[in-house]
Amino acid sequence: MSDLTVLPLEELLEQIQDNLYGGNVEPVVAGVHELLRRGLTPYDALTQGLIAGMDVVGEDFRTGKLFVPQVLMAAKAMKAGMEVLRPLLAETGAPRIGTLVIGTVKGDIHDIGKNLVGMMMEGAGFQVINLGINTDVEKFLHAVREHAADILGMSALLTTTMPYMRVVIQALKEAGLREKLIVLVGGAPLNADFAKTIGADAYCRDAAKAVATAKRLMAEKMGGSLA
């Protein structure tokens, strides 16, 4: 491996982003360590290195230049880099990116799309709690409380299971949890009208859109500190 210590910062960041794009785990981790060695805050290493790199991945995924396998590889590299940073971010009191609780609703066992959203959100720096498939109201509410979630993501691939999203949102309201929570929904048969009807904050067509929407709504929620 080339000597990272002699690279100008600009090139080092670019190299980390390229390695993320290519899903190269070790070089990404090495790059993150080098950023920290140079005295960058963990938060700057995260945003200027990893998140900036994943933004490119997300954009190319959205436009059809990359597909799921490449995104999964990039997400793995991102996760490895994030593992270096996560404990330091907590110690240094870095601004919170946000916590997402995500699951496929009760009666529905589809999980690839939902997992992809989870990984892309991790790639964007969010903490992600994935509840899996066939998730009922109690499980959603419990997780939202336990992890003090900022965002709830619900997925459904069946026309017969999507109405359950309304049930969950209703229960959030009754529990007094809805107001502070951003609720995003997704899945093949949904659309923006449906999201509005059931009282969700937004419908997200795909994983890239979910990340962009989550960031925008989090920024609004935090009073623009992340914008």
Partner: protein, 309 residues
């Protein structure tokens, strides 16, 4: 019934001139018959065999020459989500027998395709599903379909070539003589979700020994047509298959419905055949009425009385 050599009926069907009509959606019909979402459609192979037989009969009488068994989610990975993974053999064999009863009845000219769908997982190292386990799982399903008397295996709605390879290996392991048809879902920027292009699919799947290759589900016929054109250009000799949904779903009262009419499906059936497709059918949202219109458009006739041969 005397057992024919594996693949005999498929070869006979392929030898008849002209386009071949496959069937329409199974799931759509079962939901109409009262299947609640979240339930396993495969369970009905033993609990509601009358309904499954009825769907097969409706498609056969509409002119379908290839009936797919009700086993899309019949591999152990999908059945496990319903706690049914110990019943792979029972459910698949029952499904194959139900379809055979209808397809192989006196006077019928239809054949049975054993339906194998995706595992729902992603193969290692990218995902968690070990290749060996995938091969074993698909082999287990194929063995049961073979025991139930299918004429051909139809691996459908696939996104990843790695998983298709594992499925083919599983089928070959369990039933080496069964012909294999493979269709993938080209629903993401003209590729599969995992980034496989139609050209790549037709070349690689033909090389793996598939007797027919194409696209199903994902989107409607308008979106599938260009993929089929690309396949035909890349492999002019390949037997091509198109089984699109009845258009794109639209929401009505919070319920997704497929609004593609029988007339539209019939129109696209003609265009697909003109583009070089040999086998045409319908996926989600396609009912017997759609298939009847497609049969008329292609002049393939009903099972007992071929109009044009």
């Amino acid at each position: 019934m005397a057992r024919l050599p594996d693949g005999g009926r498929w070869r006979a069907l392929l030898a008849t001139p002209g386009p071949i009509l496959a069937d329409g959606a199974m799931g759509t019909m079962l939901f109409e018959a009262g299947l609640t979402s979240g339930d396993s459609p495969e369970r009905w192979n033993v609990e509601r065999p009358d309904v499954i037989r009825g769907v097969h009969r409706a498609y056969r009488d509409a002119g379908s020459r290839i009936l797919l068994t009700n086993t899309f989610g019949g591999n152990r990975f999908r059945l496990a989500l319903h706690g049914l993974d110990t019943q792979v053999a029972e459910l698949n064999e029952a499904a194959a027998r139900l379809a055979s009863e209808v397809a192989h009845a006196p006077g019928s000219r239809a054949i049975v395709a054993g339906d194998i769908g995706p595992s729902g997982g992603i193969l290692a190292p990218l995902g968690e599903l070990e290749r060996d386990d995938a091969v074993k799982g698909f082999a287990e399903q194929a063995a049961a379909l073979h025991a139930g008397g299918v004429d051909v295996v139809w691996i459908e709605t696939m996104s990843a070539l790695e998983e298709v390879e594992a499925a083919i290996e599983g089928v070959h392991r369990a039933a080496p003589g069964l012909p294999v048809i493979i269709t993938m879902s080209f629903d993401t920027h003209g590729h599969t979700m995992m980034g496989v292009s139609p050209e790549q699919a037709v070349k690689e799947l033909t090389a793996l020994g598939a007797v027919a290759v194409g696209g199903n589900c994902g989107l409607g016929p308008a979106e599938l047509l260009p993929a089929m054109v690309a396949m035909h250009a890349a492999a002019p000799d390949a037997v091509l298959v198109a089984k699109p949904n009845a258009g794109l779903p639209v929401l009505e009262d919070g319920k997704a419905v497929y609004r593609g009419s029988p007339g539209e499906m019939a129109d696209y059936a003609r265009r697909l055949v003109a583009a070089g497709v040999r086998i045409v059918g319908g996926c989600c949202g396609s009912a017997p009425a759609h298939l009847r219109a497609m049969a008329d458009a292609l002049s393939v006739g009903s099972p007992g009385c071929p109009r044009v041969l």
